[in-house]
Symmetry: C2
Subunit: 148 residues, 2 copies
DNA sequence: CCCCGATAAGTTGTGCACAACTTAATTGTG
DNA sequence: CACAATTAAGTTGTGCACAACTTATCGGGG
């Protein structure tokens, strides 16, 4: 029982270490185009629906990040000329985040990134899908518990 | 091809989200004893070998964290009275990190934590072990590539 | 013995994450 | 309509992560 506190036995550490390791793979790739990994994630959401201009809250719901994280991040993306933020006309509380032409164009420069990342993991396609699905299940389980 | 850039399909996002979700489960538990998750990880290493007093570098090798992260973290742990830092007598460059009596005693208060975390994931024991091993394999693969 | 490269820890600066709080706009209820 | 409760975004403060740099010590070759 006392052995349960050994670092290498803990799933949480494996998760924490793997997450940082994968981010390390992203870093040099994203550095070239001047993005951080969380900024890249925001753009992924925007690229999925290029004409949608989701609000900060909607972005946060997708990425599970709050305005405390997103507000300064979006300000930096706007400073880089990749997105625009505008107050909603119908609801002045909301801020809609849209892609600029430059932000839209950036998509072409990263379309081979997922493949390069997948290769770095050393896992086969089926293993990757299984891993992703297990992780998604864990995340959903935790969030469902939190809401109750 | 173009679909590869969809957020929910990316293993990396699943990893990033799961890691933060699990940390969310830790937070209220560790809050009670005044620790952050990375601080808890440092203590895990120290508890594994209570009479060892590893150096900052050795801690960093276990956790894959550099002195830029560990130095201030250890200073806070020392401020909380859980560890002591002392220059090695044989090599004045090294700083050895040892547990205080209070730090040693804290172990008793967290020995049920791994079980509580495991339950929060909703996975069975075998699934957890398989997940951990897959993640460890990914991490090792990435680090091995980095060294070459 | 001296110096030069290597090593160890710490410092500085940037960018997340997240809690707690503030400000402003909106909605529901009487 | 009035106004209290809610919601949205932003701000502030703390603590990681990590790159780049500094300071101090160590070790080996000339």
């Amino acid at each position: 029982m006392t052995d349960d506190l050994v670092l290498r036995r803990q799933v949480c550490f494996a998760l924490y270490a793997a997450s940082r390791a994968l981010t390390d793979v992203y870093r040099p790739i994203l550095d070239e185009i001047g993005l951080t990994y969380p900024q890249y994630l925001v753009l992924l959401v925007l690229w999925e629906r290029p004409d949608d201009a989701p609000t900060v809250s909607e972005l946060g719901a997708e990425l599970r990040l709050d305005s405390g994280t997103l507000s300064p991040l979006l300000k930096r993306l706007e400073g880089a000329g990749l997105v625009v933020r505008r107050r909603s006309a119908r609801d002045e509380r909301r801020v809609e985040v849209g892609l600029t032409e430059q932000g839209r164009a950036l998509r072409e420069r990263v379309c081979d990134v997922p493949l390069r990342i997948a290769q770095a993991t050393g896992l086969g396609f089926d293993e990757l899908v299984a891993l992703r699905d297990t992780l998604t299940r864990v995340t959903d389980t935790i969030h469902r518990q939190k809401e109750q």
